[in-house]
């Protein structure tokens, strides 16, 4: 018996290996997109979304024989996972209804003898023409009170979360009851509008475009923290949290960082003061372009805008002004606080610096276009010869964007080899894009090869920074 067992084990082991290798050659798996940031989305109009949601509702209605409005409640409570709802329904329908706030385990039984019924809310006799309604929980109220309750809640912006009036009763009111009770057209419209928004918000694969005045709804296949771009207004955002796209920082961290930056607005105001002194001749300098390699107009001193040190030190060894050095020997509380503020300012300054450079992106592009024009006019190359400059400027912006979001990530990282490695890579990318930026501003047609080489290096460095984020 044991021999047989052993044999069996071996055999299955081998089987596993075979499976493993087979899986590797699987032709059915989708072609792997080399760009980890690739994220296909669909941009839908309000009507299209409505159709899409209605299809799901119908699908459920036909499968388990519930009314469309009940089906909406079920889907809303279960994040629109039709298959999951069906599966739960087949397992135990009562459990599903209780979990979806459509039924209670022990409904109250009130004998509603019409003449003796006193509505617990208005405590008055119920008028002849009014009905008495209860949800599946059995809490009975007169229709007039239900209407007041609905109208009051709708005015407060409540829609899908409308619930029973009883204390601690969380049963949801289905859409059809609300719409058959409320008769003011404005409130009905409001309710439908709010409910529709809530349905979209509760669907994990649908997002409102955060762009100003944009009504589009973005649909994806997975709910991931990747970059979604609205095709209508070209706003880009993180699909998961709706903030600006923030790789390699995760959603929770970027939220913490943004709140922190908003809280420390006084300091940031101070930092946002645009000028710095030339480290050599102390003349005021305003930075109006993307590159960190500055040359003082009056004394011709080359320096780095970030660390205000001599630029010569940056060329040979690796660019280390993106790395923050923690000062270890600090005892008192105030010194620690000062140290914490200094640390924050270090990261904030770099974050803000990149963000400012990006804001100047359009200006930089215009400048490049102007330069291309003037070059072509003076017959230094054809228009086509110069197009690579625009590509490199776009890449530069992309790198700056990623780089900007590496700073919050680094700020919240624990000290250790991982952080050191990350900051080393960050410094490399900083150095490469400063190089790129410098080259773009001074490029001639003959520099094309050199510049494309530089672009490739920068993009590779950028991909390295994002590696961890996409492979967790």
């Amino acid at each position: 018996m044991s021999e047989y067992d052993d044999e069996d084990m071996e055999y299955s082991d081998q089987d596993d290996y075979e499976d493993y290798y087979n899986a590797d050659r699987d032709v059915m798996s989708p072609p792997h997109n080399p760009d980890a940031e690739y994220f296909p989305v669909q941009c839908l109009t309000v009507d299209e979304v409505e159709k899409f949601l209605n299809e799901l509702v119908e699908q459920l209605c036909t499968s388990i024989h519930v009314t469309p409005s009940m089906s909406k409640v079920l889907l809303y409570e279960n994040k629109w996972a039709v298959q999951e709802v069906l599966w739960k329904y087949n397992e135990d329908p009562d459990k599903l209804f209780v979990a979806s706030r459509m039924k209670t385990l022990q409904p109250v039984t009130v004998k509603t003898i019409r003449d003796k019924f006193v509505c617990p809310v208005c405590v008055g006799p119920v008028a002849e023409e009014l009905g008495i309604t209860s949800l599946a929980c059995g809490h009975c109220y007169c229709d007039n009170c239900w209407r007041c309750h609905f109208e009051n809640k709708i005015k407060q912006g409540v829609s899908t979360e409308l619930s029973c009036m009883a204390l601690n009763c969380e049963l949801l009111v289905p859409e059809e009851i609300v719409l058959s009770t409320v008769n003011k057209p404005i409130l009905r419209k409001k309710y439908q509008h709010f409910a529709f928004r809530e349905y979209i918000k509760s669907h994990p694969l649908l997002r409102f475009c955060p762009g100003a005045n944009c009504t589009a709804v973005i649909k994806s296949k997975e709910s991931l923290a990747k970059k979604a771009i609205c095709t209508q207004c070209e706003t880009s955002f993180c699909f998961k949290c709706g903030n600006d796209y923030h790789a390699p920082t995760d959603c929770a961290t970027i939220k913490k960082w943004i709140t922190k930056c908003a809280d420390d607005s006084e300091t940031s105001n101070y930092i946002a003061a645009n000028t710095k002194d030339c480290p050599k001749c102390n003349i005021f300098i305003e930075k109006n372009g993307g590159c960190n390699h500055m040359q003082c107009l009056s004394c011709k001193f080359d320096f780095c805008w970030m660390c205000m040190g001599d630029w010569k030190a940056h060329g040979t060894e690796y660019y280390d002004c993106s790395k923050y050095r923690e000062n270890p020997q600090n005892g008192s509380e105030s010194a620690r606080a000062r140290e914490a503020l200094k640390k924050y300012l270090h990261y904030y300054e770099r974050w803000e610096n990149h963000s400012k450079s990006l804001q100047l992106e359009k200006q930089t592009l215009d400048k490049i276009k102007e330069r291309i024009n003037s070059k072509v006019m003076t017959s230094k190359g054809t228009w086509i010869d110069w197009q690579y400059l625009l590509d490199s400027a776009t890449l530069l912006a992309k790198c700056r964007y990623t780089l900007q979001y590496t700073y919050p990530y680094a700020y919240y990282m624990d000290n250790g080899p991982k952080k050191e490695l990350f900051e080393y890579q960050q410094a490399k990318l900083e150095a490469e894009i400063e190089n790129l930026s410098w080259k773009i501003e001074r490029a001639e047609t003959t520099d094309r090869g050199d510049l494309e080489n530089q672009m490739d290096i920068a993009e590779k460095r950028r991909a390295t920074m994002l590696q961890d984020f996409f492979h967790i």
Binding site: P120, V121, G124, Y141, C145, N152, M165, A166, L167
Partner: protein, 199 residues
């Protein structure tokens, strides 16, 4: 005021008057004027708490949309409690906000408040200073709450140690309530309270 609200308040008023709690003197509601929009509540401090023996008055304002929206309730009697502001008397209680249900009544509100006095929720504080003391120095908190009950709500426990400290500050020209507030805030550390008052 709309019909349902008036009808409800009239009815609830009777309910409280008939209730057994009133017989036990633990809750009471009085009308202010005859509009039914403003009422005065009264709760006895629950037994085995620092509030025992005190009588606490409440300001109850009934909104136009009652009972679909909760009544606005505030402590008129000063009280030292993590969920009630020691300055304004504002209350932090879920049923007075989003957990309100139309089927609730003034009686249930008053009983809930009484329950809140007996079991504070320091993790959801209205008064952060009090909540901190409640969590870090429960003994000082109990003494302070009992002292406030004695001074403002007619409670039985006089604390001569606290009174002496307050008197010291009054001698320096500080108003009585302000002195009590500062001392309570700084866990009855006279030096720190003085420092704060004169800084």
């Amino acid at each position: 005021m709309n019909n349902i609200a008036t009808q409800r308040i009239k009815r609830e008023f009777k309910e409280v008057i008939k209730s057994e709690e009133l017989a036990k003197c633990s809750i009471k509601v009085d009308l202010i004027g005859d509009s039914y929009t403003e009422l005065k509540g009264e709760i006895a401090g629950p037994p085995d708490t620092p509030y025992e023996g005190g009588t606490f008055f409440l300001e109850i304002k009934v909104p136009e949309t009652y009972p679909f929206n909760p009544p606005k309730v505030r402590f008129m009697t000063k009280i030292w409690h993590p969920n009630i502001s020691s300055v304004t008397g504002a209350i932090c209680l879920d049923i007075l906000k989003d957990q309100w249900a139309a089927a609730m009544t003034l009686r249930t509100v008053l009983l809930s408040l009484q329950a809140l006095m007996a079991a504070a929720e320091p993790d959801d504080p209205q008064d952060a200073v009090v909540a901190k003391q409640y969590k870090e120095y429960p003994e000082i908190f109990a003494k302070t709450a009992s002292h406030w009950t004695n001074v403002y709500a007619g409670g039985p426990n006089k604390n001569s140690d606290f009174d002496t400290k307050i008197q010291r500050l009054i001698d320096m020209g500080i108003e009585r309530d302000q002195a009590r507030g500062a001392l309570s805030t700084y866990n009855w550390d006279l030096e720190r309270a003085t420092e704060q008052l004169f800084s």
